[in-house]
Symmetry: C2
Subunit: 188 residues, 2 copies
DNA sequence: CGTCTATTTGAATGTACTCAAAAGCGGTGG
DNA sequence: CCACCGCTTTTGAGTACATTCAAATAGACG
């Protein structure tokens, strides 16, 4: 089987050929053009996406027009508005393609079925959420403990593959500072 | 059975009487006095704790002596340095009792055994980590998008049971501002 | 009751934002 | 393939947010 998602899943659990075949048929491919949205803030969030190729940005737009980037997703990452998805309610986030993307779409209903029919998916997503939790807690820690310069340095060191896909303005909205200020920090 | 942990677990999975008995015997009770540490930054983090009663604070102390509070934990919460715990490496955090505490201690080895021997624990912790991830992502979002005043308001609205256990200085280290500044924000 | 820590207050300093304008760069269409 | 257009990045001045340090006051614990 040729999909990256299988090796992603098999980092943590094993899959039989029939399970792969099942998944291949159950996961629609979604192609996105640059700047296209796969989720719009305010819509019900019905799917979890695996990124076969391309890159995306999940962001919130508030009433004052201020954008905050919640996460980036590149090849081999999973992305959605997780709060909206697990509670099947309106998304706080929009998710846009930063370039041409090829996604696999995992619906809420299918995921619930996977949990009951193939219980090892509980394990897979337990590990996925465990890692996601640790990452986000680290981020929250950095946000309260580190200077903008330190957080910028950490970001470009930790996510070089993301950095090459995005603009400095997008990094600024991820760090929670203005593009002007980030520019000034870099000059130093 | 009389432990709060059982109703905590049974929010998401069911437990037989024999499973409860097994857990009861497998989870040592740990009693802590006020200000005592259950984990010290730099130590290997061997346990995950369930809070039967009392309240705790997980924080990082950096080289300049600056404290950052990563989380609070009250009755019915789980707490540890999750990164240290799942990778069995040195803790970034210390965890101290804010008052007399009664904890249940779940070791790394026992948890790994639970995952394989009672697979529904994969589901339980999948849901636990899923919720933790959503919470931390929300926190990271607030850190980059909201003012100190808004984050303070959100915290006291969302966690009134925590607020009554802690000092304003501790809230300040959780929000990532100085106690002096938080005091000024409140006056307004 | 005394001591230690938390909280408040204020002044001086540093960090970050706003607004505006210029310069640079990339995508798109001709 | 080049040139234009729009967006990103830079620069700077003025303002607002947040910290540091010090000292006074208030509270809490033993």
């Amino acid at each position: 089987m040729d999909l990256h998602i299988f090796s992603n899943i098999q980092k943590h659990i094993s899959l039989s050929e029939s399970e792969k075949l099942y998944l291949r048929n159950a996961l629609p491919v979604k192609e996105l053009k640059r700047k296209e949205l796969v989720l719009r803030q305010g819509q019900i969030c019905r799917n979890l996406y695996y990124v076969e190729s391309g890159s995306l940005r999940a962001f919130n737009l508030n009433d004052d027009g201020k954008e905050s980037t919640i996460m980036f997703a590149i090849r081999d990452w999973w992305v959605t508005d997780m709060n909206g998805f697990v509670n099947q309610k309106k998304a706080q986030l929009s998710i846009e393609a930063l370039e041409h993307c090829r996604l696999l779409e995992l619906s809420y209903d299918l995921l619930e079925r996977l949990y009951t029919e193939i219980p090892k998916f509980e394990r897979f997503f337990r590990i996925l959420f465990q890692n996601a939790y640790i990452r986000e807690q680290q981020r929250a820690f950095h946000n309260i403990a580190l200077s903008t310069e330190q957080r910028y340095q950490y970001f470009i060191d930790k996510y070089p593959d993301i950095v090459e896909k995005i603009t400095q303005k997008q990094i600024a909205t991820y760090l929670g500072v203005t593009p002007e200020f980030l520019s000034a920090v870099k000059k130093k």
